[in-house]
Assembly symmetry: C2
Homo-oligomer: 292 residues x 2
Amino acid sequence: MRADARCGKMARFLASAGIMPRPDQRPVGVFDSGVGGLTVLKAMREAMPHEDLLYLGDTARLPYGTKSAASVLRYAHRAAEHLIGYDIKMLVIACNTASAVALDDLQRDLAPLPVVGVVKPGARAAVAARPAARHLVLATEATVRLGAYSRALAEIDEHAEVSEMACEMLVAQAEEGWTEGAVAEAIVRAYLDPVLGSAAKPDSLILGCTHFPILRGVIRSVVGADMSIVDSAVTTASLVQERLRSGGIGGAAGRTGSLRLLATDGGRRFAQVGGTFLGEPLSTEAVEIVDI
Amino acid sequence: MRADARCGKMARFLASAGIMPRPDQRPVGVFDSGVGGLTVLKAMREAMPHEDLLYLGDTARLPYGTKSAASVLRYAHRAAEHLIGYDIKMLVIACNTASAVALDDLQRDLAPLPVVGVVKPGARAAVAARPAARHLVLATEATVRLGAYSRALAEIDEHAEVSEMACEMLVAQAEEGWTEGAVAEAIVRAYLDPVLGSAAKPDSLILGCTHFPILRGVIRSVVGADMSIVDSAVTTASLVQERLRSGGIGGAAGRTGSLRLLATDGGRRFAQVGGTFLGEPLSTEAVEIVDI
C-alpha cells in the first residue's frame, strides 16, 4: 500500500473520530499536452491557493488532438510516470483528449493514487447549467472520435442530446492568441454558423478542449446571450478539492501554495503562450525543461 | 566508401568515357513532419515519374515548426536513420523547419549519402523569379527564429532584402483544408494586410513552409497579380533530378516508379489530409505506420 493510500485511510479514520487529519503537503500533479491545461491550473489555484501545484506540459509531443489513441495513451503514461517521481498526492489530466483516451487506464494502473480527468466534470457542469439540453461539444478530432462526452453526458442525463464537432483551427487560434476581432469571429462562425442556423440548434455549448476557454468571449459574441457555455476548468477544480478533502489529503489552509511548471520542450514559447492561459505573465526562466 | 559513392564515382567515370551508367533503382527517401512535404513529393513525381519514392511523415511528432531546434534535430536524425534502413540513394528533407535546423548536420553525418533540403532551392527560386527583390518569407516560428532564408538569400543575391514572418495559423488552415472562401482570405489578410499597406511592401513572397503551396490561390487573391509567389517544391525537385544525374544514380527512364508512404502515427488522418497535398485521393491502407 502506497503512502497516499495509507495517509488517506488514516485521515478518514481520524476524521470519522472527529480528529482533524494532518495536512498533506505533497503537490498535486497536473498534465496536459501543452499550455491548454493552464486554464484548469488557473481554476485550481483560485479554488485552492494553499496547495502546491506541479504542472507538466508535454510540449514536445503536442498536439495530442490529432494523434492516434495508441500514441496519446503512451504519452499520457509517460507524463504520469514522470509526475509520480515528484511524490504527488493526486494526478489531474487537464487535457480532454488525454482524459478521453487514458483516464480509465491511468486510474487502474496508478491505483491507489487518485486520478481525475476533465471530461466527466465538463459533462457534469453542462448538465447542471442546463438539464435535458441539446449539447454541442467543441473538441479536438481525437476527443470527438472517442465520443467521450456523449458517453459521459448519457450517464448523467438520459434526456440530454449530444453532438460533437472537431474544431482544430480553434486550437491554433487560441495558441496564436487571436481571442477577439473580426478574423477570430469569422473562424468561430465558420464552425458554428451551419449549426446555429439549423433546426437542431443546440442550447448548450461545451468547450471540450482546455484551449477553448480563452476564446469564450468571441464564442459568446457568435452564439448570443441565450446559449449556455461551459468548460471543465472550474468543475474540475471543485472535484479535485472535494477529492482531496474526502481523501484526507488536503494541504494546510492559510499557507500560500507553490507553483512549479515543467515542459518537455520550448520553454520560451511555453512562457509566451502560457501566460495568456494562466492569466498572468510567465518568464522563460519559470519553466523547467524535462526530458521524459 | 558506401555503395552509392562507389556507384557515383564509377558512373562519373563511365559518363566521362561516353558510356551510359547502369540505372540505380534504389529509392529516393523523403521526409517531413507530416503531410506538408507531399507538395514536394508531388513535384518530384511529376519531374521524375520513373524514380521509386519513399516518403516518411513524422506525424507522431508534428508539428516541428513550434518545437525547439534541439528537438527538431533529434527528430530529423531519427527519421533519416529510419529511411536509411530502406537502402535509399538520396535523402530529401521536405520540411523547411527540418532543413533550417538539420541540413548541415545530416549532410555531415550521413556523407557520402547526398542530402537535399528545401530552403536553399526555395531561396534560389525566389531570386530567379525576381532578382534584387524585397522578399517576405512566410514560415513557421522555428524557421523564422533560425533565419535560414535570410542567410540563404544573402548568399546568392547581395541586393535582396528579406523579412520573415511566422504564420502558425496558416499551417492549421492548410491541414484543415480551408483553401478558399471568405474565412480563408480573412486569415491570410490578418497576417499580410499590415505588410501590404506599409512603405516596405514586399514584391516577392516565399512560401517557406511546405504546407503553404495549397494556399497559393487564396494568398494570390490577397496580394494581387504583381507579387512574385514562389515555393520550393518545383525547384527542389529540379535539384534532386540534377543531383541524381550528376551523381550517376538516376533510375531507368521509361519505367513507372513506385510510391511508398510511411507515417509514424494516424494513417487515417494522414490519408485524409495528405490527399489534398499530394493532389490525388489516398486510402488509409496506402499508409504504413512505422515506429521510429
